[in-house]
C-alpha cells in the first residue's frame, strides 16, 4: 500500500503520474501491491525515491558496460587526479576536487579504476545520486567521500540493512553468501549485487546475471569437498531515501 500525505493512493492513480520508466513502474507496483505500508509526505517524495532507484539500476548497467576492473583491496587502483589511494586500498577524495565530478570520473575514465564488489556498489549508489541531485547539493552532502567498503560511508547516505524485508525492490543491494569459499580467496566469500527487480542482478566482477548464475560462479570458488552451496541471503541494503529527499526538497540553488 502506498500512502501519500496520510491518504492511501490507488495503484492506477500513482502509475498514471509516473514517467515511462520500467524500473520506476515496477517499484511503484511492488509498493502498491504490498500489504506493507509505504508512506510518503508527498507525490514528489515518492517520485524522488523511484527516480533514484531507477538511477541506481542505470548506474549499475553503465558501470558494467565500461572498463572498470575487479581487484582486491591490496591491488585496487584509482585516478590520482581525483582520488588518493589509502593504505587500506580505499579511495579518498582529493582536496579541492568536487565530489560529483570525482564520482563521474570513475565512469568517464573507468580503465584507471579497479576495486572489489562492495566498493563498486557504493560507487553505484553515489553515481545514482550524482545523476539525480543537483551538483552543488551532492557536493555539500558528500564533501569527504571515501570509497572503500560499507565501513567508511558518509552518514548522509543512510545505508541500512534490513534483515528480513517483506519486499525486495529494484535498486536495493542483495548479498550472495559463499560459506564454503576457498579460504585463500576471501574476495569470493560473497557477492554484493544490485537488484534489478526482474530476476537480474549486477555484481562487480560477475556482470549482470540471474541468481542461479551468480550462485554457480561462487560455487566454482569453494574449497574441495565443499558441502554448502552459495545462497542469496534474506537481507537487503537500501539508501535512506527519506533523508535524502529532505535535503533535496530543502535545496535552493
Amino acid at each position: 500500500m502506498i500512502y501519500i500525505g496520510g491518504k492511501q493512493a490507488g495503484k492506477e492513480a500513482v502509475l498514471g503520474k509516473l514517467p515511462d520508466d520500467r524500473i520506476q513502474n515496477i517499484t511503484a507496483e511492488i509498493m502498491a501491491d504490498s500489504t506493507q505500508t509505504y508512506s510518503f509526505r508527498s507525490m514528489d517524495e515518492l517520485k524522488f525515491e523511484l527516480s533514484v532507484r531507477s538511477a541506481i539500476v542505470k548506474a549499475s548497467k553503465d558501470l558494467n558496460g565500461n572498463n572498470f576492473s575487479f581487484a582486491v583491496f591490496r591491488r585496487s587502483r584509482c585516478n590520482p587526479a581525483f582520488w588518493n589511494r589509502e593504505p587500506d586500498g580505499g579511495f579518498r577524495l582529493k582536496s579541492g576536487v568536487k565530489p560529483n565530478e570525482a564520482i563521474k570520473n570513475i565512469y568517464d575514465q573507468s580503465r584507471l579504476y579497479a576495486t572489489e564488489c562492495s566498493t563498486a556498489i557504493v560507487i553505484v549508489f553515489y553515481k545514482a545520486l550524482a545523476d539525480v541531485l543537483p551538483g552543488p547539493l551532492f557536493d555539500a552532502l558528500f564533501p569527504n567521500t571515501y570509497l572503500m567498503n560499507w565501513q567508511s560511508l558518509d552518514p548522509d547516505l543512510g545505508l541500512r540493512t534490513l534483515h528480513e524485508p517483506e519486499k525486495y525492490m529494484p535498486g536495493n543491494c542483495r548479498y550472495f553468501k559463499n560459506p564454503d569459499v576457498n579460504p585463500l580467496t576471501p574476495e569470493w566469500q560473497g557477492e554484493n549485487a544490485i537488484d534489478f527487480g526482474d530476476g537480474l542482478y549486477y555484481g562487480h566482477g560477475m556482470g549482470i546475471r540471474n541468481a542461479e548464475q551468480i550462485i554457480h560462479a561462487l560455487n566454482q570458488n569453494r574449497k574441495r569437498n565443499a558441502d554448502k552451496s552459495a545462497y542469496l541471503m534474506d537481507s537487503s541494503t537500501r539508501l535512506n531515501f527519506s533523508r535524502l529527499y529532505t535535503a533535496y526538497a530543502r535545496y535552493q540553488p
Binding site: 591490496r74 565501513q151 534483515h163 574441495r224 537481507s235 541494503t237
Partner: protein, 329 residues
Amino acid sequence: MGEPNQISRLDELRIKEGVAGLRDNVQKLSTSNPTQAARLLNDPELRFATLYLLENQLIQSEVYKHLNIRNKNALKLIRLLRKKDFSQVEDLLPGYRQAVQSCLKWMLESGYSDDGLDDEFDEILDDCAILAVQVFHDESVVTLLVELIFNRNRQKRYIYDLIWTFFEIHNPKNLLLIVERLRSSNPRDVKLAMKLLAFIPIMKDAGSVNRNRLYMECVSWIKENAEYLEYTGETFQQANSPIPYNVSYESKYLHKAKKDNEAFKKDSLEGDQANAVDAFLRLNEKAKEVLSDYSNVLYEKDQKAWKEWIKSPLDEQIKIASRRRGRYV
C-alpha cells in the same frame, strides 16, 4: 620457545644492515660455507620475515638441501600462498597435516613483529592466519589475530580479511578479546571495537554510556549469551552494521548450548522440553526474549525451581517471568 628477547644472528644482521646487507652476507656465506649458512637459517629463533626476504636466493642455492623441514615447508607454503593455490595445500594435508599446521603457526607468530614489511608479506601473514583458524581450527592464534587487526587498524591498513576470519571461527567467547579494546587509550582501537561489537544491545546507547560501563555490560552480555549465540553469516563485506550473532531464544530458554546454527532435534529433547519448545516457538519475539532471560536467571539461581517452572503451562511461565523481570509481554 626461546627467551622473548632472543634474536637469531640473521635477524640481527637484517635489523642492523637492512635487507640488502642481509642478502649480501647470506650470498657470500652460501658460496663459501653453505653448511654454516644453513645452520644460521635453521636457528629455532629465526623470524619468518628473514626467510621470506631470502626466498629467491635460497631456492637456487646449494644451501637449500641443508635447510631444515620448517624452512623447506615455509618456502613451499610461500609459493602456494602466493599462487592462492588452496588445492595444493589440501593435497599436503593427508600426510603432512601436523607439519603444515606448525609451519603456518611459526610463519604467523614469528612474522607478526614484521607485519608491514611489504604488501605481499602482509598478505601471506593473512593467509597463514586464515588457514590456521579455518582449516586447522587452531584457536591458539586468535589472540595474535586480534593483535594484528588492531595494530593494522592503528596504521589505517587493510584489516577486513582478518576480521572476516575472526568471525568465521564461530566462537562467540572470542568476542571478549575485542571487548578488551574498549578500555584502550587509543581512540582508533575503541572505535573499531565498538564497530565490531555494534550488534550487542548496550552498544545502541554507546554515545551516552561511559566506557567502563560499556565494557562491563559487554562482558556480562557475552558471558550470559555465548552458549546460545548462533552465527548468522553476516559480514563487513555485506553490510555497514552486520549482525554476526543472534541470541537463540529457544536455546537459552531450555538452557541448552546451541551448536553452530543446528536446530534442536526434537528427539534429543525430553518429552516436556519438546512440548515446551513447540509452544515457545509460536510466541512473539518479545515474549521469547523475556522468557529466555528469566529462564537463564532462574537456572543460574535455583535449578530445582527452574525444573518446576519449565514444566508449568506457558501462560503461567510468562506471568511469572514478566512479574519477576518487570517486563510485561
